[in-house]
């Protein structure tokens, strides 16, 4: 098959929309444009029916009841609603939240915001493989703890946390458990009942659906969970999220969930085989290391550090042909290496030298072949140019050098 450039391997950032999803959405822009809250005419009924159907599709993917799905503008809003909503709703019980250092910024910054509002937050360190320590988690629980928020699968390294064990600890202590399921839902089986999840956020655009739509799962039984609305208005979504529903987006989100449910098992096998092949080939390169636990990991993610070459310089070698993300956030203005990789205990040098691969539904074997070749060539070329590689080859201990820091 002929290769089409650029190759997209940044599916953790966002996924392309599936054409089947778009086809399902299209009638809901012009023809079936009604407001799902219009109860008095057919335009409203058609929209409401479409939303109800999508709500079932979304709920089914995670083993929830449709009434437990609160549609939002995406995962960031759902994360804010979950954490701030629980914090306000359960203020009489306590003010303590437990999270971990490798969470997405939408979790960490929301927690930081609550610290200014009188909240107390424990940020658990992760182990070198990216997993949290369950004993540490249990130790961190106090009588004031109201919420544990630990993500399902990590966006940078793909590590899947021990969700059922975390849920069991939360339940034992009467603490609510919220998980950011953005990267995991639709990629691996997630069942809110079997997993013991009380609240969970996820988003359409990470699973071949549209951007601008996501949801928060809020458990209705054992226990019945409530969150204080963060958006006031018409009382949509059982009063938890006001605002006219994004009908075409929700319809697309529903269809995207349905497709994931149908194709997930085969897709996970296909993607993990490709990912493993990519990883095996790239770790053939001297001094390259896989970051994060490889047993408990999303099937489509790999994060690899190539020591003695710098991530941004590496990306430049093929960024016209391959769309990839550097594990370090160097491409943003911050020039700071990834806080997730640093949380694993990686030195700044290794954290600066990493690439994040996010494979997806439209990734092909030919694309993986090309990527292996392009990255291998670029790493070797840049190593020839790297003073650190030369010093390493001469047996100089780079840690013993006094570098001139700027």
């Amino acid at each position: 098959m002929e290769l089409k450039f650029p190759i997209y391997l940044d599916n953790n950032a966002t996924t392309p929309m599936d054409q089947r999803v778009l086809d399902t959405m299209l009638p809901y822009f012009v023809e079936k444009f009604g407001n799902a809250a219009s109860r008095n005419h057919s335009f409203g009924w058609v929209a409401e029916e479409a939303v109800d159907y999508a709500r079932e599709q979304v709920a089914k993917l995670i083993g929830a009841d449709p009434k437990e799905i609160i549609f939002t503008s995406g995962a960031t809003e759902a994360n804010n609603l979950a954490i701030k909503g629980v914090f306000e709703m359960y203020a009489s019980k306590g003010n303590h939240i437990i999270t971990c250092t490798t969470e997405h910024k939408a979790i960490l910054d929301t927690c930081k915001h609550l610290e200014k509002q009188g909240g107390a937050v424990t940020y658990l360190q992760v182990q070198p493989d990216g997993l949290i320590d369950l004993a540490e988690l249990e130790k961190a629980i106090t009588p004031k703890t109201i919420l544990i928020t630990i993500m399902y699968g990590n966006n940078e390294i793909g590590v899947v946390q021990p969700i059922r064990e975390i849920a069991a600890i939360a339940k034992k202590h009467g603490v609510l458990f919220f998980t950011d399921g953005t990267q995991a839902v639709g990629k691996i089986p997630v069942d809110v009942l079997a997993d013991g999840i009380d609240l969970m956020s996820f988003s359409g655009h990470k699973m071949y659906g549209p951007k601008g739509v996501g949801c928060l799962y809020v458990r209705r039984k054992n226990p019945r969970v409530k969150v204080t609305a963060q958006m006031d208005g018409g009382g949509h979504e059982r009063g938890m999220r006001s605002g006219t529903l994004n009908v075409p987006g929700i319809v697309g989100f529903g269809r995207a969930c349905e497709l994931c449910m149908q194709e997930m098992d085969a897709e996970a096998v296909r993607l993990s085989a490709m990912r493993d092949r990519l990883e095996a080939a790239l770790t053939q390169i001297d001094e390259s290391y896989v970051n994060g636990n490889i047993q408990h990991r999303l099937p489509h993610v790999a994060n690899i550090s190539f020591k003695y070459v710098e991530g941004e310089g590496l990306l430049m070698g093929f960024n016209k042909q391959i769309a990839l993300s550097s594990g370090s956030a160097c491409t943003s203005a911050s020039l700071e290496p990834s806080y997730v990789l640093k949380s694993l205990g990686l030195g700044d040098d290794l954290a600066h030298s990493s690439l994040r691969f996010g494979l997806g539904r439209f990734t092909t074997d030919a694309e993986i072949d090309y990527t292996i070749k392009a990255i291998t060539e670029t790493v070797l070329k840049l190593r020839e140019m790297s003073p650190l590689w030369e010093m390493f080859k001469e047996g100089i201990d780079l840690d013993k050098i006094e570098w001139a820091h700027h």
């Binding site: 710098e310 991530g311 310089g313 430049m316 700044d348 140019m385 001139a404 820091h405 700027h406």
Partner: protein, 137 residues
């Protein structure tokens, strides 16, 4: 972020990558930056003992495309200059030549530091006083 054509050209076809004998008396070596900061440059000059002119310059750089381009450009500029002329190269000249965006100005600063450091290494080896840093970065 889009790179300028000149940065891309230096990155794709870097000039003067390599190593000179750092123990040679007429070779000056500058090693600046730090792995933790994501940039390390090593710049070397070989000075003609008779004329005092830089007859060869080599670099190796660990860093982004702009860092590689800055050091590649620096080696091109150094060749044929006296060490005094070389010491006058300013980082803003590099910024201008490569159209570096503001977030990449530190790459040019590093290149200027590497030039000065290489010159000083040469001067010390040859019993000359070190150049004093005239501006703080």
């Amino acid at each position: 972020m889009a790179y300028s054509e000149k940065v891309i050209d230096h990155y794709s076809n870097p000039k003067n990558v390599g190593t000179l004998d750092k123990n040679s008396k007429n070779v000056g070596t500058g090693l600046v930056g730090a792995p933790e900061c994501g940039d390390v440059m090593r710049l070397q000059i070989e000075v003609d003992e008779v004329t005092g002119i830089i007859k060869d310059a080599k670099f190796k750089t660990f860093g982004c495309g702009s860092a590689i381009a800055s050091s590649s450009l620096a080696t091109e500029w150094l060749k044929g200059k006296s060490i005094d002329e070389a010491g006058a190269i300013d980082n803003m000249d590099i910024v201008e030549e490569l159209n570096l965006p503001p977030v990449k100005i530190h790459c040019s600063v590093l290149a200027e530091d590497a030039i000065k450091s290489a010159i000083n290494d040469y001067r010390v080896k040859n019993g000359l006083p070190e150049l004093v840093e005239e501006k703080a970065h």
